[in-house]
């Protein structure tokens, strides 16, 4: 009964979609279409979302909690390479390629996500290309302005440290 209740409670899912900055550019009708394609998933602390070398079949929009991305197949603290916070997306490589996952994702605390399957996204590209393009542009924005900026900052810090240590000039 709980499942049925959650399923038909569209307004709640619409509200959750509104919380996601990545889907901010979508209009009301597009959000209505999208809420039928998103699957709400809840993960307890330490639960694995996906493992490295698994086929990439879904991307996850994090609603609450946080998810750690780990290099290799073990979710150990020393392997952690990234922390995904609420409002962010993980596993988006599923949208672009069917190559296997290159990292393992595990919930750092009790976490709620909206999962979107690769198949649903490719269908969306055919049926509502404008909506899919908006998602892709938002994704590009995140990748270029956020992730790349973060990487640049880290690169600069490392360069400065190496320069201080007289390793590079």
């Amino acid at each position: 009964m709980k499942i049925l209740r959650n399923l038909f409670k569209k307004s709640e899912k619409a509200r959750l979609i509104d919380q996601l900055p990545l889907l901010k550019s979508l209009d009301g009708q597009e959000k209505n279409v999208l809420q039928n394609l998103l699957h709400r998933r809840e993960f307890g602390k330490g639960n694995i979302l996906f493992t490295a070398r698994d086929p990439a079949v879904a991307a996850y929009f994090v609603l609450k909690g946080s998810v750690g991305l780990y290099q290799g197949m073990e979710a150990t603290p020393q392997n952690r390479i990234q922390l995904v916070r609420p409002g962010e997306i993980l596993g988006y490589s599923a949208f672009f390629s069917d190559a296997p996952r290159n990292a393992t994702a595990a919930a750092m605390e009790n976490t709620a996500c909206l999962a979107m399957l690769r198949k649903d996204f490719t269908d969306l590209c055919c049926q509502r290309p404008k909506c899919a393009l908006k998602i892709l542009l938002s994704l590009y924005d995140v990748l270029y302005h956020h992730d790349l900026a973060e990487l640049r900052e880290k690169y600069n810090q490392l360069t400065q440290q190496l320069a201080k240590a007289n390793i590079i000039v």
Partner: protein, 329 residues
């Protein structure tokens, strides 16, 4: 063809389809005395006619046309014994005459293939509407209605929601595999049936001696992805050459091939087949509610009528736009 022109023509053809659906529904109502079947068929046909558009979704249109055709055949050939008592006298007479003609007509046709085709088609239609038990028909009708109504995504969500996290992604892989495979099979079967039907007509018109085995072979070839569609005519042409027929049969063959190619291009063109026509759900809802309130099952007949008006208005508005005029050279 630009987008606007395609859209205008699509609306015009939709209005025609909706009008034809209205006629079919009226015919069913006139001759059926099985209320349950009448309602199932009415809902099914209404959904089909309101969800399909030949230029925007070739495959679904083909399916709905086949369904409507089957119903017409059933009504025409098999229902005269159970004509609804309230049907107008003229209808009863017409159906009874049609039935008499059907039995005499089929007996009179010497062509085996035509008789076999007609009997298979009519038997299938009869089986679907009468020989199957009511609950099975209702189940088929409801499944199709569910498939067409857009509730499918919610059912899929329900299934995924019930899955534990450990199998969620694996299930997605299977579902993707099944839908891709299902789409391929559906396309193959549709193509095979369409080309089989057309080749059957062509061979019958050509009065070719080995019609039945060749028809079977062409359907078999059509099931082969990508190349099958071309293997069937090559095979038939090869047979024609061996049997050294006269030039009129070769000319007939090439004309048939051209028509087949054109129909395939129109019905299975990527542009039409992949763009999904959004159904007029609001219109459907209003018609079902008001139809049942005011005229019970008969009220559903208004849906195609309103759809006709709706599509004609859309087409008219498009034709009025400055960007495009169908009358302009």
């Amino acid at each position: 063809m630009n987008g606007l022109k395609a859209k205008a023509i699509a609306y015009l053809i939709s209005s025609l389809c909706a009008f034809l659906a209205l006629l079919v529904l009226f015919l069913i109502y006139s001759v059926s005395n099985h209320a349950g079947q009448l309602i199932v068929w009415t809902i099914l046909l209404t959904l089909l006619s309101s969800h399909t558009n030949p230029l925007l979704n070739g495959k679904k249109w083909l399916f709905s046309s086949s369904a409507i055709f089957l119903v017409v055949v059933t009504v025409y050939f098999f229902l005269p014994g159970i004509i609804h008592s309230s049907a107008p006298d003229a209808w009863q007479t017409a159906i009874a005459s049609a039935n008499a003609f059907r039995f005499d007509g089929i007996k009179a046709v010497p062509d085996l293939l035509f008789r076999v085709n007609a009997l298979v088609l009519c038997s299938s239609a009869f089986l679907i509407t009468h020989a199957l038990p009511g609950p099975v028909i209702s189940l088929i009708g409801l499944s199709l209605a569910l498939f067409l109504s857009g509730l499918r995504t919610q059912v899929k969500q329900l299934v995924f929601a019930s899955l534990p996290n450990s199998v969620f992604e694996r299930a997605a892989i299977y579902v993707t595999g099944i839908s891709v495979f299902g789409a391929l099979v559906r396309e193959m079967v549709f193509t095979a049936l369409l080309s089989g039907l057309l080749w059957g007509c062509a061979l019958w018109l050509l009065d070719y001696p080995l019609k039945l085995p060749l028809l079977g072979m062409s359907v078999f070839f059509a099931l082969i992805p990508f190349y099958g569609f071309w293997l069937a005519p090559v095979f038939i042409l090869f047979n024609l050459a061996i049997h050294s027929f006269d030039h009129t049969q070769f000319a007939g063959f090439f004309i048939t091939l051209a028509v087949l190619w054109l129909m395939r291009f129109l019905l299975f063109h990527e542009k039409w087949a992949k763009t999904r026509h959004q159904p007029d759900k609001f219109l459907l809802f209003i018609m079902i509610v008001f139809g049942y309130i005011f005229h019970q099952a008969f009220g559903l007949f208004f849906l195609p009528l309103f759809a006709t008006g709706f599509y004609l208005t859309q087409a008219f508005l498009l034709l009025l736009t400055k960007k495009f005029s169908i009358l302009a050279p």
